[in-house]
């Protein structure tokens, strides 16, 4: 809401307050002023008269002027480029030293001719172009004949000395969409007397119109008939106020409607009385049909929209827009002025649906005072009398289906201070509430009842009163005091702490932690959906096609982040993200990892291409970190292949037989699809939730053997398909309790090894925890192992 301070000053004295002070006072009281604007600005201005106007000797468009600046300043020579500069014209002159929005005016020589000042257009004084005609924008401002040469109070003369506050009206204070109420607010904040003039009822005939409401969505509907008006421009002062408050001037009748709305917050509607099909106006909310509006567009009206009808024909879409058929035009003579109260929700839905949002509809949506219609009609009538030559005024016809409730709230000084943590006195609280126009009845103990002024729709309970008190007395009066802490202390839950550990583990392994959007496009939601076939949520009202589906997986987003980086020549990436995902079926915490290119072990000196086993190591690391024993999870080959993964280099992870992760090297086709260049990539999607909430054994120390261990190696050739885990398992079983560890230290396929075979070297660690092993024991157990390997896998020993 744009608030003209000049206008406000008519109702409350602003003497001694700068616009900035007022803005600050309002802002701290919860009425945020976003900007203080000046209609125009400029120092060292004076009204001058062009005495001579010669062509510049060295230019085809410049003029050399001799301008009379009045008694104090005499005649100055000014070089001027305006096409409308001419002898005899009265103009605005910015003297040397003048500061204008565009900079300072200095003495100068323009193409060899001295120039002492500038003749100004209103644009140069900072007036918004939207208020100026094209002619005004092109040249210097032409002042009327009667302008007094030498007058230095130019902005005041032009009525451009106004300052305008851009007030952000929050949803709880729709009353502030009214100059009167802003004046009341400023009066309360700065403790100044507020005087709102009361318009007297003018009435010299009884109207025959029948009015009423057939809908509970219109609880109040009032009409005044005004006859004999004359459409013409509104007075200059009114145009200036409207301009200052961002409303375009149209003609006196329209302007008066808008001006009354700005003052009171109550939108008005004017009907051409002679165009109504019948002398009646009724509000309905069941109407259905086409409606041709003022803007000459046809809108489909539906049940639920509030429509004002005459003879069952729609004359106005209540609170939104009038009908073309009964619009006031240049020839209108007689009016019906309507001041009504409409249900906010209905207006909100109608104006949103039809895309018709206006100053009026916004006021209805935010809430209007339902009990001021007569004053509003009287104000409009008196203005129409003065500025539209209206002669006949009917009585006010009021339909009111709502009883005026007196809003009373009981509270106490103790309650107010208790909520605020303050120790304000009875007197302070009484004073503040009274300034805000609450009627306070307080007893000696500080118990009180207040009567809330009708325009304050937002104050309904004692908590609201505490806000009124503190916003005027100031939050600096609230002492800081930490709340008492009872013995129960907070902290992360087990699951939260584990999630954090997993993240830190990955960071410490050198992976970068990412953050991506939860909304995907329809193609992305289907890609890399590895863990389940859940249905995803879809946005009804998306902004772009890219953000439509709520993700059920994280990996695709992370691959997009990888693509972003690869396209910027960052080709070695280790990225991860943990995120909540939600589908129609479940809500889980997921982890995604993407490894692209090479692990840079020593800058670029040593590099290891990322592969399946990197990711496997990270997965094992996470389980180890959480204290989950290897026996509780396993890696398995994928039975069904995904398009996204290399079929031979991918796996699933089962945690207690529940699928928790799928990972593997990216299918070569996907590498180019995701713009990852020629490099390789390994990806993982993991559901962390079961891991975060599982119970694990408390770790306990087991004795460390006093006896030495002995290592022996085995090397053999075996069928390529035989998996390492089976070989190791066989070794452990065959080794009874003596094999403490066995690990593969070499795998070779290629030259000297038959096709379909591989050479494997395994190191086995033997130890007896109760005695030193003898050579014979070692040989015996190793022979047994060899026998079992030979029997089960037909291995061919190499030594």
């Amino acid at each position: 809401m744009l608030v003209s301070l000049k206008n406000v000053a008519q109702y409350v004295s602003l003497d001694g307050l700068s616009a900035e002070e007022i803005a600050n006072g309002l802002t701290f009281a919860g009425v945020e002023v976003e900007e203080v604007r000046r209609m125009a600005s400029g120092t060292n201005l004076v009204i001058g008269k062009i005495l001579e106007c010669e062509k510049h000797p060295d230019s085809d468009h410049l003029h050399v002027l001799k301008v009379d600046l009045g008694g104090d300043y005499g005649v100055e020579q000014i070089v001027c480029g305006a096409p409308n500069a001419r002898k005899g014209l009265k103009v605005i002159v910015a003297r040397v030293g003048s500061v204008l929005p565009g900079g300072e005016i200095k003495k100068g020589v323009i193409r060899g001719v001295e120039s002492n000042g500038m003749c100004c257009s209103l644009l140069e004084l900072g007036v918004d172009a939207k208020y100026l005609s094209e002619y005004q924008q092109k040249g210097i401002e032409e002042l009327p004949e009667d302008a007094i040469v030498g007058n230095e109070n130019v902005l005041k003369y032009l009525n451009l000395d106004d300052e305008v506050l851009d007030v952000k009206v929050l949803a709880n204070r729709p009353d502030l969409l009214s100059i009167y109420n802003v004046a009341r607010e400023i009066g309360a904040i700065f403790n100044r007397k507020v005087e709102i003039p009361e318009a007297e009822e003018i009435s010299n005939f009884k109207t025959k119109i029948e009015i009423g409401s057939k809908s509970e969505k219109c609880s109040q509907f009032s009409i005044k008939e005004v006859r004999g008006i004359c459409i013409k421009p509104s007075p200059k002062w009114m145009q200036n106020y409207l301009n200052a408050m961002g409303v375009r001037s149209i003609n006196n009748v329209v302007d008066i409607g808008n001006y009354v709305m700005l003052l009171t917050g109550q939108p008005l509607h004017m009907y051409d009385a002679d165009k109504l099909p019948k002398k009646e106006l009724y509000a309905y909310s069941e109407y259905e049909g086409d409606f041709v509006a003022l803007d000459e567009n046809t809108y489909a009206v539906k049940p639920g929209d509030i429509v004002i009808c005459s003879d069952h024909k729609p004359m106005c879409l209540g609170g939104v827009m009038g009908a073309l058929s009964c619009a006031v035009d240049d020839f209108s003579k007689n009016l019906f002025i309507e001041s009504a109260s409409f249900d906010s929700a209905s207006i909100r839905r109608t104006s949103l649906r039809l895309g018709l949002v206006s100053e009026s509809s916004q006021r209805f949506v935010k809430g209007t005072n339902h009990f001021q219609s007569e004053e509003v009609l009287n104000l409009a009538a008196s203005l129409l009398k003065q500025y539209a030559d209206a002669k006949e005024f009917s009585d006010n016809v009021v339909y009111q289906d709502e009883e005026e409730k007196v809003n009373k709230i009981s509270s106490s000084v103790e309650k107010i201070n208790g909520r605020l943590g303050t120790s304000f006195t009875k007197e302070q609280i009484y004073d503040v509430l009274t300034r805000l126009q609450f009627k306070v009845m307080m007893d000696a103990n500080g118990e009180f009842v207040v009567k809330v002024p009708q325009f304050r729709l937002d104050v309904t309970c004692s908590a609201d009163l505490s806000e009124e008190v503190i916003r005027l007395l100031g939050y600096e009066n609230v002492p800081s005091l930490l709340p008492k802490l009872d013995t129960k202390v907070g902290g992360l839950t087990h699951g939260q702490a584990r999630l954090r550990e997993i993240r830190y583990f990955l960071l410490e392994r050198g992976l970068d932690e990412c953050l991506t959007y939860s909304l995907l496009n329809k193609k992305e939601i289907k890609a890399f959906n590895l863990l389940n076939d859940d249905e995803h949520y879809e946005i009804l009202n998306p902004l772009t096609d890219d953000h439509v589906c709520f993700r059920t997986h994280v990996l695709n987003s992370l691959l997009k982040a990888a693509e972003y980086n690869v396209s910027r020549q960052e080709k070695n990436l280790a990225l991860f993200e943990t995120s909540n995902v939600q589908s129609l079926q479940r809500r889980e915490e997921h982890l995604a990892i993407v490894l692209v290119g090479q692990e840079q072990a020593q800058g670029a000196l040593k590099t290891i291409p990322y592969d399946f086993y990197h990711m496997k190591g990270l997965v094992e690391g996470i389980f180890t970190l959480l204290g989950i024993e290897a026996s509780r999870y396993k890696f398995e080959r994928l039975e069904s292949h995904f398009d996204e993964l290399h079929p031979g280099k991918s796996a699933k992870v089962l945690f207690q037989n529940q699928l928790v992760a799928i990972f593997g090297e990216l299918h070569p086709q996907k590498i180019s699809e995701y713009g990852l260049g020629k490099t390789n990539a390994v990806v993982l999607e993991m559901n962390l939730s079961p891991l975060l909430f599982t119970k694990v054994n408390i770790e306990k120390m087991s004795p460390i053997s006093r006896f030495p261990s002995v290592s022996r190696d085995l090397a053999f050739i075996v069928d390529k398909k035989v998996e390492a885990k089976d070989l190791l398992k066989t070794i452990k079983i065959a080794g009874k309790g003596l094999v403490k560890d066995a690990f593969i230290f070499d795998v070779y396929q290629g030259a000297n090894i038959d096709e379909g075979k591989k050479s494997i070297a395994i190191s086995i660690v033997y130890r007896n925890d109760n005695a030193t092993l003898t050579e014979k024991e070692i040989v015996d157990v190793q022979d047994k192992i060899k026998y079992e390997l030979g029997k089960n896998y037909h291995v061919e020993f190499r030594m």
Partner: protein, 345 residues
Amino acid sequence: MKNNKLKDILQNALGTIEKALSLDALINIKNTYLSKKSELMGMMSKIGELPPEERKEFGQEVNEVKTTIAASLDEKMAELSEKEMAEKLKKEEIDISLPSRSLTVGGRNPFHIIKDEMIDVFLGMGFEVADGPEVESDEFNFELLNIPKDHPARDMQDTFYIDKNTLLRTHTSPVQAHVMAEKKGEAIRVICPGKTYRRDDDDATHSHQFAQIEGLVVDKDINIGHLKATLELFAQRMFGEKRKIRLRSSYFPFTEPSVEVDIDCANCGGKGCSMCKGTGYIEILGGGMVHPNVLKMNGYDPEVYSGFAFGIGIERVAILRYGIDDIRRFYQNDVRFLHQFRKKI
């Protein structure tokens, strides 16, 4: 020494040892002078040919020569091996400025750094951490927070809807309602960090996805002073011990009174600069006393309990802390950006 030959052997030996340049040369010298086939040992074996009275003296002299040579050899050996080791080590010198084995930590999106840090500040004040669904019901996102259907405050937050009654939460405040439902009757001190969504076009200062940390304290006798102190402590932990906060009256449907909280600008110390747009203060969060209707709707008697709540934008704090120029940076994951932030503490 009487025996001239021995004298010569000793002289020769010592001279050769002195001139020896390598350990190998010393071993040769040792063989030449001290092995069984050496001249010295040859002379020793002929001791029997000497008259008995000379034998003792001769024997002593041979031994003396032998010990002297051996000692000299040992000394030279030590000298040379030390030199050889030094040379070997010298040859093994490396360029220590070459890159390391890269055991550094990964880059952290500053979003996560700030989120973790903010959580830690509140954990230190005895808060618990709660979380709630991002796909939320209208009831929890709006109605239980004193924002009934068609309340004008709904226009303050443009919402992504899934269907009439389901939406992407527009703030973390619905977790307040979840926590109150769960804790029914108990005192509450909880924060809820999480992602939120609004129907905003993405640009340098707007994002359709952003994150907040919601705070909720419900107990007997809670007042605005408690909110002020809690947020003051928060501001000081996050932005420096000298920071001061300022409360401005504001409006949220679920708090009454409601406040916006500013901190004095760390950049200029409150004098006014480009960072704070000349005001000396920077808006960081909103909060207030939990509205009695919210308490009532969520099963707490507002006559007995009171509470405060606040919501802090995580990106907003990170932007201020790190001077980040564009909110989209958090979501681009440019590693050149991520690698600028590695510090854990």
